[in-house]
């Protein structure tokens, strides 16, 4: 049981690593668009204007 959980966790972590590597291969311009999306998400969560959303 313990072994299965560890295997499942490793499987999930490997998937996450793969996803990060995929994102790392995106064009720079696309990555900047994603940064701006992250800024928008952060602003909506915080509900204040700390940290400006870039005007792409």
């Amino acid at each position: 049981m313990k072994n299965d959980v560890a295997k499942l966790a490793e499987y999930i972590f490997e998937k996450k690593r793969r996803r990060r590597r995929q994102l790392a291969r995106l064009p720079f311009e696309k990555k900047i668009e994603i940064v701006v999306e992250l800024q928008k998400i952060a602003a909506s969560i915080r509900g204040d204007n700390r940290g400006r959303v870039w005007p792409l």
């Binding site: 990060r20 790392a24 720079f28 900047i32 952060a42 400006r52 005007p55």
Partner: protein, 168 residues
């Protein structure tokens, strides 16, 4: 963003700064997955050493109508933080930067090996995480990184990061 980057290039061509390279979160984003960041960090080699390193930059910004925004300057709507190359490692990183394209603008960006070395030198939690991500990304040439870390006495920090265990 290309307009802001063009303005930074213009500052170098006008001789307000000797050289520059983008560092921080945006440079990291060039090599790894996108990360949340708010400032465009520009490490620069000043024309003159001393307390007035930022003066020509702020004067240029004032003339162009770019307002200061906390520690940054808002250039075409982007908060650009100008940071003088504050030690030998950062100076070397700026001088050995790569030229990359953003849209049609050539920009100078700190190489992955130097970015990792700077993160290891700075050593805040977010820098350690950034170093791990960079190491994992495959963008870092280990031999080059090793040489830089050896030169600046930072090999122990790489070992600590690696001993800290498998990053998930």
């Amino acid at each position: 963003m290309e307009r802001a980057l063009s303005v930074i290039n213009e500052m170098m061509h006008l001789g307000l700064i000797k050289n520059y390279a983008i560092g921080g979160g945006i440079a990291a984003t060039y090599y790894i997955e996108p990360i949340l960041t708010y400032d465009l960090d520009v490490f620069f080699i000043p024309v003159k050493e001393g307390m007035e390193e930022l003066a020509p930059i702020y004067e240029f910004a004032r003339q162009r109508g770019y307002a200061p925004d906390a520690e940054a300057i808002l250039i075409e709507g982007f908060p650009v933080q100008f940071i003088p190359a504050y030690n030998e490692l950062v100076q070397e990183a700026v001088l050995n930067s790569d030229s990359v394209k953003y849209e049609d603008v050539e920009v100078k960006i700190i190489k992955a090996e130097y970015l990792t070395a700077i993160a290891l030198q700075t050593w805040r939690a977010k820098d350690r995480e950034r170093a791990i991500r960079l190491l994992e990304s495959g963008a870092v040439d280990r031999a080059k990184l090793w040489a830089i870390l050896e030169k600046f006495g930072l090999l122990d920090r790489l070992r600590k990061i690696e001993e800290a265990g498998d990053e998930k």
